[in-house]
C-alpha cells in the first residue's frame, strides 16, 4: 500500500521555546507536573495560577500564547467561566491558544458556540505526547487562520470572509473550521440567508450539533422562529446535555411571545449547568416578567452567588434581586441583600444609586415616607451627577415618588424612561400599570403619549427624509431625536445610519463622525449583540477607509 509520510517537519514553524504559557490548576502537584510535562517538549516560559482570579491578574499583566486550564478550579469560578470572562473582556484574542483540561468527556457538549469554546479539550489523564500533538495542531491551524484573524480584529469582516473562502478552497484539512468561522461572520454581517445555506452545507456532511445550532440561529435571525424552534427541540432530543441549545431556544420562544415556554426551557438549562451567570440572569428576568417571583428570586440570587467576582455581575443584578424581594414584601430579605452587598455597591456611583432607590422604596413600603424621601433625594442627586440605572429601577423610583405624592418628579422620570424605550411594550405597560395603581390613568396616558410621540415623530420624519435622499435634514431630525432619547437604541442606530449615509454622499464631517462613533458605542451598551450593530460598525469602517481616517483604537 502506498503511504504518505506522517512526519510534519514543523520544527521550523513552531518555536516552543518562545511560547509563553500559563498553567491554571487549583492543585499545586498538578501544576508542577504539567509544567514538567510542557518543559519536556521545550516549553519553558511557564507561569502558573491556582485560581481564576489569579489567572486573570496574570493575563492582565502579561501576554500569553498558550493557556492550559483545568475545568475544575475548586471554589470560585471554573475554567469555562474563566474562558468566557477572558473572551468577554477581550483579555485574550483569537491567536491565543486555550486548552481546557477536563475529567469528563461529556463536558465537550457544554460549550457549543465558537465564542464560548476552547481550542481543544484534554481528557484526564493524558500523556505528554498527546498534549504536544494537540498543541501543535492548534498552532498550525492558527497559522493558517492568521490573516483571517487579523482582518477580524480590524473589524474588516468582509476581508475575513474572503480569507475563509480561500482556506475552504485550498486547505481541505481546515474546511470545517473555515466554514464554522465563515458562518459566524455571515451572521455578524447580517447575511443570514447565506449563513443558513452554509450551515445546511455542513449538516449535509454531518449533522454535528454545533452546526445545527448555527442553523437555528441563522433561522432565528431571519425571524423564521417556528423553524428554529423545531430544529432546536430536535437537537435537544438528540443531545439533551447541550446547554447552549436551551439558551438559544429561550430566545426563540421569547421571539414567539412564549415567555412561559422560555422560562421552562431555561429552567431545564439551569438544571444541567447552573453556574453560568448570564443564564441565571436571563432566567430571573423572564420569571420576573412572568410574575413568578419565587423563581425569579432564586435565579437572581444564584446569579449573584455564582458571579460574585465576575464581570457579568453589575449593580443592576443587586437591584433586580431587591426589586423581587420588595414585590414579595420581604423587607427583611432586602435589608439582608443590601447589607451583604454593601461594599460592592458603595464602590461605584451606579451601585450607590441602586442602594438609594431600593432603600427609598423599602422605607415607603414600611410606611416611612420621610425616610423614603431622603433616600430618593439622594438617588436624584446621584443621577444628576451622572450615575445611571436601568429602566425598571427608574420606574420603581417613579412609582415610589408617586405614592409619596411627588407627582411632578414621578411624571418627569417616567417621561424620560418612556422616551428612551418608545418601542418597548413591556416597559410602557409597566409604566401604565404604575399610573393605574395610583388612580392617575388619564394623566399617565397623556404623559406616555407625549413622551413617545415626540421621539416617534422626529424618528419617522428623519427616516422619511433619508428615504427621499435629503440626508442633511434627516441628520438634524435624528440627532434631535437622540437628544430627546439618548439611551434609545433604535433611535441611536437610525441616527448613526443616516450620519454615515450623509458623510458618504456629501463629504466628511469629522465631528459628526465622532458623534456617530460615540452613539454606536452607546447603542452597543444598550442593546448588546443587536443584529444591526455589526453592520453599522462595518459601514463606519468603510467610511473611515474611504476618507482616510484612521481609527484611534479598535473597540
Amino acid at each position: 500500500m502506498a503511504q504518505n509520510a506522517v512526519n510534519r517537519g514543523n520544527d521550523e514553524l513552531i518555536n516552543y521555546a518562545a511560547l509563553r504559557a500559563l498553567v491554571v490548576d487549583d492543585y499545586p502537584g498538578m501544576r508542577s507536573a504539567l509544567k514538567l510535562t510542557l518543559s519536556n517538549f521545550g516549553v519553558t516560559k511557564i507561569q502558573m495560577a491556582g485560581s481564576a482570579t489569579e489567572a486573570i491578574s496574570r493575563i492582565q499583566n502579561n501576554t500569553f500564547d498558550f493557556i492550559l486550564c483545568d475545568f475544575n478550579l475548586g471554589e470560585g469560578r471554573d475554567g469555562q467561566q474563566l474562558l468566557e470572562e477572558l473572551r468577554h473582556r477581550g483579555l485574550i484574542n483569537l491567536d491565543t491558544v486555550f486548552i481546557m483540561v477536563t475529567a469528563e468527556s461529556i463536558y465537550e457538549k457544554v460549550a457549543a458556540t465558537a465564542e464560548l469554546a476552547p481550542d481543544d479539550y484534554m481528557i484526564k489523564p493524558f500523556s505528554a505526547e498527546v498534549l504536544r500533538n494537540r498543541l501543535e495542531s492548534i498552532l498550525l491551524r492558527k497559522l493558517a487562520f492568521k490573516e483571517i484573524y487579523r482582518h477580524f480584529k480590524e473589524h474588516d469582516l468582509v476581508a475575513a470572509l474572503h480569507g475563509c473562502d480561500r482556506l475552504i478552497d485550498s486547505k481541505p484539512k481546515y474546511l470545517v473550521d473555515a466554514l464554522r468561522f465563515k458562518g459566524e461572520l455571515l451572521n455578524a454581517l447580517g447575511r443570514f440567508e447565506e449563513a443558513e445555506a452554509l450551515y445546511r452545507q455542513i449538516i449535509n456532511m454531518r449533522a454535528i450539533p454545533w452546526a445545527r445550532l448555527g442553523l437555528a440561529n441563522a433561522l432565528h435571525l431571519q425571524k423564521k422562529d417556528a423553524q428554529a424552534e423545531e430544529e432546536l427541540r430536535d437537537v435537544l432530543v438528540q443531545a439533551p446535555e447541550m446547554v447552549a441549545a436551551y439558551d438559544m431556544l429561550a430566545n426563540v420562544c421569547l421571539a414567539r411571545n412564549d415567555s412561559a415556554g422560555a422560562q421552562a426551557v431555561l429552567e431545564q438549562g439551569v438544571a444541567i449547568s447552573g453556574k453560568t451567570v448570564r443564564r441565571q440572569q436571563k432566567l430571573g428576568e423572564i420569571a420576573h416578567a412572568n410574575g413568578d417571583l419565587e423563581s425569579a428570586r432564586k435565579a437572581y440570587a444564584t446569579a449573584l452567588d455564582k458571579g460574585r467576582h465576575s464581570v457579568f455581575v453589575t449593580p443592576t443584578d443587586y437591584g433586580n434581586l431587591c426589586q423581587v424581594q420588595l414585590e414579595q414584601g420581604d423587607l427583611k430579605a432586602v435589608a439582608e441583600t443590601l447589607k451583604n452587598a454593601k461594599n460592592i455597591l458603595q464602590a461605584s456611583t451606579d451601585g450607590q444609586l441602586v442602594m438609594a432607590v431600593v432603600q427609598g422604596v423599602a422605607q415607603q413600603q414600611a410606611g416611612k415616607p420621610e425616610e423614603a424621601d431622603k433616600f430618593l433625594r439622594e438617588a436624584a442627586r446621584l443621577r444628576s451627577d451622572g450615575a445611571s440605572a436601568d429602566a425598571p429601577l427608574l420606574l420603581k423610583m417613579a412609582e415610589t415618588w408617586m405614592a409619596g405624592g411627588q407627582l411632578e418628579a414621578a411624571d418627569s422620570l417616567i417621561n424620560e424612561v418612556a422616551r428612551n424605550a418608545h418601542d418597548s411594550d413591556v416597559l410602557l405597560e409597566k409604566a401604565k400599570q404604575i399610573y393605574l395603581a395610583a388612580g392617575r390613568e388619564d394623566v399617565g396616558a397623556s404623559n406616555l403619549k407625549a413622551a413617545t410621540a415626540d421621539v416617534r415623530k422626529l424618528n419617522n420624519e428623519g427616516v422619511l427624509l433619508a428615504q427621499k435622499g435629503e440626508y442633511r435634514q434627516a441628520v438634524d431630525k435624528l440627532l434631535a431625536a437622540c437628544h430627546e432619547a439618548p439611551r434609545n437604541p433604535r433611535i441611536i442606530m437610525n441616527a448613526v445610519w443616516v450620519v454615515l449615509k450623509c458623510i458618504d454622499l456629501e463629504g466628511m464631517d469629522e465631528e459628526l463622525l465622532e458623534q456617530a462613533r460615540r452613539y454606536l458605542d452607546e447603542a452597543a451598551r444598550q442593546a448588546p449583540g443587536h443584529s444591526r450593530i455589526a453592520g453599522l460598525r462595518l459601514h463606519m469602517k468603510e467610511i473611515e477607509n474611504k476618507f482616510g481616517i484612521r481609527r484611534r483604537s479598535a473597540t
Binding site: 500500500m1 506522517v6 507536573a33 465537550e108 505528554a128 505526547e129 495542531s137 454535528i208
Partner: protein, 217 residues
C-alpha cells in the same frame, strides 16, 4: 454530614483521574540511566500505569453503558493528526524495544467525523495489545474502504487466538488474566458510530500478525 452517593462517586472519580494523571507524569519524568536494570523497571511501570488508566476508562464506560448513555459526540477531526498522536504515544510506550510504523493511504480524507475520545480509547487499547504481543514491530494506519474511514493497528505477532477471530466472547472474565473487555469495547465503540443508516464495524484478522481495524461510516 450526609453523603450524596452520586456526588461522592463523581468526586472520587475526579480524584482518581487526577492522581493517575500525576502518577503517569511522574513516571515520565524519571530520567533514563542506560542501565537495563533501572530503565526496564521504569518502562514496566509506565506500561502498567497505562493499563490502569485503560481499565479505569473501561470501568467508566461500563457505568455509562449501564445508564444507557454511550452516545458518541461527533465532530470533525483529521485522521492524519490522530494517527500521528497515536504513533507518538506508541513510540513512547515502546521505548525502542519495538519499531513503530505509521502511514496514511493517499486517498484518506483530510477530515472525518467521529468521537475522538472513544476512538482513541479503542485504538490505544489495540496498541497496548500489539506492543505486548508483537515480535519486532507494529503499524498504525489510516485509509478508506468503500466510503468508510479505516483505522488499523497491525503487528507481527502470532495473531489473534482462533476463538477471538470466530467471534467467541465469553461473559465471564477469562483466561490469562485478561478480561477480553478491550476488544468488546472497541466493537461497541465502532458500532455506535452510525451515519445515514450505515454502521461502524470492528474487523479482526490474522495476516502476518494480528490486524485490528475500525471502520467508520
Amino acid at each position: 454530614m450526609k453523603f450524596d452517593s452520586n456526588d461522592l462517586y463523581a468526586s472520587l472519580m475526579h480524584e482518581l483521574k487526577n492522581h493517575l494523571g500525576l502518577l503517569a507524569m511522574t513516571i515520565d519524568s524519571i530520567p533514563l540511566q542506560n542501565d537495563p536494570a533501572h530503565d526496564g523497571v521504569v518502562d514496566d511501570a509506565r506500561l502498567l500505569c497505562q493499563r490502569v488508566v485503560e481499565r479505569l476508562q473501561q470501568a467508566l464506560l461500563i457505568y455509562k453503558a449501564a445508564n444507557g448513555q454511550i452516545k458518541p459526540s461527533i465532530d470533525a477531526y483529521s485522521p492524519e493528526d490522530l494517527v500521528r498522536e497515536l504513533r507518538d504515544t506508541a513510540v513512547s510506550l515502546a521505548r525502542g524495544r519495538l519499531e513503530v510504523h505509521c502511514g496514511i493511504a493517499p486517498e484518506t480524507p483530510a477530515i472525518a467525523f467521529f468521537d475522538r475520545t472513544l476512538i482513541e480509547m479503542a485504538l490505544i487499547n489495540a496498541i497496548h495489545n500489539a506492543l505486548a504481543y508483537a515480535r519486532t514491530a507494529i503499524w498504525i494506519e489510516a485509509g478508506i474502504e468503500a466510503g468508510r474511514l479505516t483505522l488499523t493497528v497491525r503487528d507481527d505477532s502470532e495473531g489473534f487466538p482462533e476463538p477471538i477471530l470466530s467471534g467467541y466472547t465469553s461473559d465471564a472474565p477469562n483466561r490469562s488474566g485478561g478480561t477480553g473487555l478491550g476488544l468488546h469495547f472497541a466493537r461497541m465503540i465502532a458500532e455506535t458510530h452510525v451515519n445515514q443508516g450505515r454502521g461502524g464495524e470492528l474487523r479482526l484478522a490474522n495476516q502476518n500478525g494480528a490486524v485490528f481495524c475500525v471502520l467508520l461510516p
